[in-house]
Amino acid sequence: MQAFGLFNYWVVVLLMMTGLYIVTASPNLIKKIIGLNIFQTSVFILYITIGKVSFGTAPILVDGVSRYSNPLPHVLILTAIVVGVATTALGLALVVRIHSAYGSINESELQNEDAADS
């Protein structure tokens, strides 16, 4: 059973790398933001995995339970989720603005247009 103890981390690494692949390989800006979100969620899962204690329960105090999971990663991730959505909204607003200025959200087309302008 010890060997499976690292399974969560491996899936987290897989998700992280999927997000990184989307961000680097996809030319489309909306797809890049989706990739960024996938990456972000994998970090959340990493933190929550660290906070889990076997046979512990959620850190909401009740009588007769003495083993709780660690509440600190939960607090950090709670903040991170909200900030993450705020940055996603800002990124998507930038995409909309770029589209209305250039007429395209394809990275290579944008670079071509910039090169033609200068």
Binding site: T57, A58, I60, V62
Partner: protein, 94 residues
């Protein structure tokens, strides 16, 4: 006994995911996402009972609400081409 229910819901989740990946039309994917949302509500409710702390059903409740609102928003996007601008549906929108 709860574990049997959880197993059934997990199997259904796998089937629904397969439909969402194959999709042929976009409507199939929306249907799969909607159905998947219901399964998530179920698994959260069942897991609460499985671990003996059923006081976290609020999450399932929020999921049921979000799922419905999400589906309706998506469908509005598809019928009118955007999320609810006030104009009649035009055939070239989709």
């Amino acid at each position: 006994m709860y574990i049997a229910g959880i197993a059934a819901v997990l199997v259904t989740m796998a089937l629904t995911l397969a439909r969402a990946f194959m999709g042929p039309t976009v409507y199939d994917r929306i249907l799969a996402v909607n159905s998947f949302g219901t399964k998530t509500v179920l698994i959260i409710a069942l897991y609460g009972y499985f671990t003996g702390r059923p006081d976290f059903l609020d999450i399932a409740l929020v999921y049921a609400l979000i799922n419905f609102i999400g589906t309706i928003a998506v469908l509005k996007f598809f019928e009118y081409g955007d999320l609810g601008r006030d104009r009649p549906s035009q055939p070239d929108d989709i």
